[in-house]
Symmetry: C2
Subunit: 325 residues, 2 copies
């Protein structure tokens, strides 16, 4: 960003808002746009999907590693992915934003531009928000969606005999973060870009719902951890193929980064978070939507909720925790 | 709180969530409860109202002055007030929560208890959220509501000849904060309580809509500042009565605190924020709902958007800004 950007503290709140709003689409399904006490959004089938995710500076991102636009796109995408994971079409976002007074205004404008860039092509409106000072940047996004008359696809519907399938990348975000942490971003800049801004296929969620998916979730905390959640919610066991068989292209892609930082690509495939792929189960006779590939099968509940290559998983990490050791 | 409360960092994330969830009502209009990627909520008339507000530690509250329960109740109430200000009935909340690892778990449980205490009597469900670490407590609440088939009451519908009316307390929160800041909380503990937890009359919003209110907003940044917003959005001037005439009970109540800290009660009446009363305009022949009292009238737009006692306002402060000087 240009070194001469004013800082947030240099502007009145309204002036800062005036710089943010032009970047944010209103959305064609917004009846009362932002600017009042609340917005009004259509819910054509009499229901809406709602979810919330928070990004905190130095917990989920670093300003040294991510532009404002990266953070805005990522904040939008990870929330829209949760909407898609219910089988719903994203419609609207609201954004609670905390920024230190020392933040360059350009960075905040970039964040708004990133939110807009993620939302505009999907006709998702940014229909409200709030802005406050504080010691670090916090981006709290609530995303809203439309089930288009279909039942919600929860985590709880998987049945023995179903096919387990996955849509999207595996391990790219974790590998990109590892490269950044090791100062080796140049080994594979595309992995680093995947860490900075996940690009989930949001149409895959409604497509899975139309195809009869019995259960689905957004893989945000790693395949093993999220597979376990789906298995427990459904009372089944997920028997996943060996990661090298399930994700051959991703495995090949991650090999160079794994070598560079002394990690195992299979750990990233199984435990890497933040890719925001979709994990879903389908009846055995359902044709999988194009974005999905089969990676295992559902059995009745056995001792372990998740098996990998027929055995309990041995990955170094099974996901991450914001507070724990 | 007991000195032996464990800290957030002592618990795994799931253990912390297990302490929070029991305090939060699901709500009778929640179709898919929290625990999945997203919740599903009913929208009986095919629309919903949505709004977002953020509370940041040491900006909007201090942990030395407010319990977790206070902060939870306040975070819920100020968002529900925005829903009510559209004439809607609050239905659901989602909460993005940031807490430092050094926070006592009891404080976080108190916050959940406060959210629940605000929501349960109104059948408002806490239908989702996210939890993260960070350097200070941040509570980002998104509130959702049901217009029950009525048009939304925006800020933009006031017409010359309308009555200006107000529901709720004026100046109590600002006076309470001033007492706390001056170390004189014992002068009037009820004012201090009003600062810690506003208690807006949420039923007054839908009641105003049913009575034909032409414009309405939640008074969060002070009467003058919010009256100016309504006047500008509607293209009118609001002629407000002198505060001593408009709010005689509040004025009398604030006198002692004003003496104690060397402030003017009329400044709190005109410019004090965070009471979350409702400012509305009604057609001249509409009977006002019981919570409202007339405080002025609407005229065609003159030079000033707001007049007080026939003159441009002279208050020391016209509201507050999160970043500006």
């Amino acid at each position: 960003m240009p070194p001469d950007s004013p800082l947030v503290a240099d502007l009145a709140e309204q002036d800062l808002l005036d710089r943010i709003f032009p970047h944010l689409p209103v959305g064609s399904r917004t009846l009362v746009p932002p600017g009042d006490d609340a917005a009004v959004v259509v819910a054509p089938d009499g229901r809406y999907v709602v979810t919330c995710d928070v990004l905190v500076e130095d917990v989920h991102f670093r300003r040294a590693w991510s532009t404002g636009e990266d953070v805005g796109r990522r904040a939008a995408m990870q929330n829209l992915a949760d909407v898609a994971a219910m089988g719903a079409r994203p419609v609207a976002l609201v954004v609670g934003l905390v920024v230190p007074g020392t933040t360059p205004v350009d960075w905040v404008e970039g964040l708004a531009r990133g939110l807009g860039a993620a939302c505009r092509p999907l006709d998702v409106g940014v229909v409200g928000g709030d802005l406050s000072g504080g010691p670090v940047v916090v981006v709290s996004v609530t995303a809203l969606g439309d089930l288009e008359g279909r039942p919600a696809v929860t985590r709880a519907g998987a049945r023995a005999g179903d096919v387990v399938a996955h849509a999207g990348r595996r391990g790219w975000s974790a590998a990109g973060l590892a490269l950044l942490t090791a100062g080796q971003a140049d080994v594979d800049p595309e992995l680093v870009a995947a860490y900075r801004v996940p690009e989930p296929d949001l149409a895959a969620g409604p497509a899975a719902a139309r195809a009869g998916a019995t259960a689905m979730l957004d893989v945000s905390d790693g395949l093993l951890r999220d597979a376990r959640r789906l298995a427990r919610a459904s009372g089944v066991t997920l028997e996943l193929d060996d990661p090298a068989d399930a994700f051959p292209e991703d495995g090949a892609r991650l090999a160079g980064a794994a070598d560079a930082v002394g990690a195992r690509a299979s750990d990233w495939l199984l435990a890497g978070g933040e890719d925001h792929g979709l994990l879903a189960t389908f009846p055995p006779d359902a044709p999988l939507p194009p974005a999905f590939r089969p990676i295992g099968s559902v059995t009745g509940r056995s001792l372990d909720p998740v098996l990998v290559g027929g055995r309990p998983p041995q990955a170094a990490s099974t996901g991450w925790d914001h507070f724990g050791a």
